[in-house]
């Protein structure tokens, strides 16, 4: 039973364009959402997060949008750069345990 789902295993975009990575969740107890970036054979690197009391959080080229009613969040990268090519994981945690639950990841390839 996957509580955090990333339905697109891969995404390919052109350098300079927008990359949109999507994530859905089923657990209503989740109230904090995170995005991580991962290169092969390395640990995930924290990118950006959002609390359920907000619907948008921005950090430079990265923006995360949260739609609580749809239990959906997305990560926008503008403009995309070849160095952004990596696997992106969506994660969520809830009050009490704070154990991050991860999706299976989306592999982003940004072509020069």
């Amino acid at each position: 039973d996957q509580q955090v789902k990333q339905n697109s295993p891969s995404l390919s975009v052109q350098e300079g364009r927008i990359s949109i990575l999507n994530c859905d969740y089923t657990n209503s107890m989740f109230d904090y959402f995170l995005w991580y970036k991962k290169y092969p054979a390395e640990g995930p690197t924290f990118l950006i997060s959002i609390s359920s009391i907000k619907d948008k959080n921005e950090d430079g080229r990265f923006t995360v949008f949260l739609n609580k009613s749809a239990k959906h969040l997305s990560l926008h990268i503008v403009p995309s750069q070849p160095g952004d090519s990596a696997v992106y994981f969506c994660a969520a945690n809830g009050v009490g345990s704070y154990i991050p639950t991860f999706g299976r990841g989306t592999s982003l390839i940004v072509h020069p």
Partner: protein, 110 residues
């Protein structure tokens, strides 16, 4: 400030043996999480330690165990290794809602 450090980077073991993986959290972090990332899968939660106690464990058999030391470093032990235990094992620590990960230990069981 040093990040989360894990050792060894790579480990090769024979089926049936035991593996011990180590993790040092970021200074001041008392919570440590262990995750397994097998090929083609996401990060599967293994264990959570906080203040020296095991707080929660994921859906893994008892041969996956660990402990947390007084200095908050942690050890993951995998007994009776099976071929499917081959994976990247990740350790993370957190001060609040955000977990920070180490570079991982690649365990290969042959």
């Amino acid at each position: 400030e040093a990040g989360v450090t894990q050792s060894p980077t790579h480990l090769i073991k024979t089926r049936g043996q035991q593996a011990t993986l180590r993790c040092s959290p970021i200074s001041g972090h008392t919570s440590v999480y262990w995750y397994q990332q097998a090929l083609g899968l996401g990060l599967q939660f293994l264990l959570w330690y906080d203040e020296g106690e095991e707080r929660n464990r994921g859906n893994f058999p008892p041969r996956f165990s660990g402990r947390q030391f007084p200095n908050y470093s942690s050890e993951l032990n995998v007994n009776a290794l099976e071929l499917e235990d081959s994976a990247l094992y990740l350790c993370a620590s957190r001060p609040d809602r955000v977990a920070f990960f180490g570079q991982g230990t690649r365990l290969t069981v042959v």
